[in-house]
Symmetry: C2
Subunit: 332 residues, 2 copies
């Protein structure tokens, strides 16, 4: 569990591919963002107050959040004095980089001396049990996909927010680094040792009140040549009552895996369902979430109508169409 | 890669549940076993010459193999002086325990001082790439199952041996601790970080000559509530041309997971095939391997005949019926 609110470190990053984690946190956890710390005037402006660590701490911030990427995933040497400044000012550090904060001797030493915590959310320092397969009380919704990086996190966040707005007792459960930064908790499921994927997913959404919903961020895709093992372990451990299929209609191939076609939605949903029913015989799809960012309004509406007719499921786009009917279908 | 041949440490173990790894190594790698080291006359006799480390080293042994289990997977304190004696005598140590050899300070110190290697085969010290999904040259056979612990390793060992006997260039590829001890190499696939399961499987069976066969030990089961993620990553990364389904006809439920039925063979094979074809569109089943140890000769023959008729595939039992027709089906 990380300490909020955040001072978001932007450095001198300006490309959206580099700053998208920071932007995700700003979009979904605005109330948890005290300010931004930029190292150059050309750096991306998240629309948060500019401040340095001491000022941010005084304004209530408790962690510096490294929400930008760096080449090779390493923490650049020139960041080290900045990280030390943050620790001295009273802040913990939350990082989504591949390189570990604790592997930088000066940073590890300063954190230990000052009593600060270093959170490398891409790595898992916890150990998990082997999954039991036992049914847990409470309800669970899992977002699954036809590929990686097409809206599983945004869909889960939007559905959890919509449930809460209706007064449903619901929690977003994060399984990836950006999600963990947004919610302040979760498990980087792809960093867990293979034997414990489903066990980690069971731990992530523990027993809850019968009317409670965990809305779990999916990972990977069941027909993905590299990540399907993660997807399946997460599916089994989550024991979802409700599944939402996330899809980007412009994609014809698995992203960055040439020659691996996106399979038809029908086949994809049948495969997810047959595997999901190993741990929850009542699993069912309650909606399709489209990423229609590449389509016009007219095209998006036509596609949604056609998919609704074809699959008999409500279609949503977390950034365009409402989530209401998918939530209703889940609660029904 | 571990150094063979082995002195097998039996300690004072006498129950077959505890000594089965030692027995597996003795059965499948007899030529790699110099002797056994027993601490009490009541300990299991593997039928190997009894010897202590110094004598074993003189006779050619290069590693002490801990082929027995201990309660909780920890290395008992009373073994430490014995391990030190082995290191002093010139032997490396190969362990299949959960507890790491390198976590015992005296053992780690002695190994470093003497230049010996400590191999914890249950853990993976290597890092692996994300899977590429790219087709590799050479042929691959993977054993898959309806459950854990019903003969996937034995089936793969038997098929690799039968191929070699026919003059086929074939390698057994180990994915679990006993298999690694037998072959002297391999990857404990369930110990790999989740993101890299398929990548580790790609590394395990690299590009090879067109006529070469890798016979890969399967893990888990696709309908297993705890381990299916490992199974699927291994399936995708192995890109098998040929699959053999391993099954124990007495089992009705997943072992140790009450309430999780073994699914019909037809459904199981269809699910494996549809997922295998993500990375190898030509994947097909070439046989069924039965564990008929609980059946009489008459019952076993009747069951094999009935399954052959039903599925149109040759049926083998690595310990009872020949493997020939399955090998022929694979090579066809």
């Amino acid at each position: 569990m990380v300490r909020k609110p955040y001072l978001i470190f932007v450095g001198d990053a300006s490309r959206s591919a580099v700053t998208k984690t920071a932007e995700g946190v700003r979009d979904w956890a605005r109330e948890d963002c005290t300010g931004q710390w930029r190292q150059s005037p050309g750096a991306t402006d998240l629309g948060l107050p500019d401040m340095a660590p001491a000022e941010a701490y005084a304004a209530g911030a408790r962690s510096l959040l490294i929400g930008i990427a760096a080449i090779g995933g390493r923490i650049p040497d020139e960041w080290v004095p900045l990280l030390l400044e943050a620790l001295e000012a009273g802040l913990d550090i939350v990082s989504g980089m591949h390189g570990r904060l604790s592997a930088i001797p000066e940073v590890a030493e300063a954190a230990a001396r000052l009593g600060r915590s270093l959170h490398d959310v891409r790595h898992s320092s916890r150990s998990f049990p082997v999954a039991s397969g036992r049914k847990r009380s409470g309800k669970r919704l899992l977002t699954v996909g036809t590929d990686c990086a097409l809206g599983k996190k945004y869909t889960a966040l939007a559905l959890a927010a919509a449930m809460k707005e209706r007064g449903v007792d619901a929690d977003f459960r994060a399984t990836g680094q950006t999600g963990i930064m947004i919610s302040g908790d979760g498990v980087a499921i792809d960093a867990v040792v293979a034997d414990f994927i489903a066990g980690a997913a069971e731990t992530l959404s523990p027993e809850a009140a019968p009317g409670h919903w965990d809305v779990i961020e999916g990972q990977g895709a069941i027909f993905h040549p590299a990540y399907a093992g993660v997807t399946l372990g997460l599916l089994h451990g989550s024991q979802p009552d409700a599944l939402v299929l996330c899809h980007d209609p412009r994609r014809t191939e698995i992203s960055m895996f040439e020659g691996f076609p996106i399979r038809p939605l029908e086949e994809t949903m049948e495969t997810y369902l047959s595997l999901a029913r190993v741990t929850n015989p009542d699993a069912r799809f309650v909606g399709i979430s489209l990423n229609t960012s590449g389509l016009s309004e007219v095209e998006a509406n036509a596609l949604a109508a056609s998919l609704e007719a074809q699959h008999g499921l409500p279609v949503m786009d977390p950034l365009r169409f409402g989530t209401e009917r998918v939530v209703e279908q889940a609660l029904a």
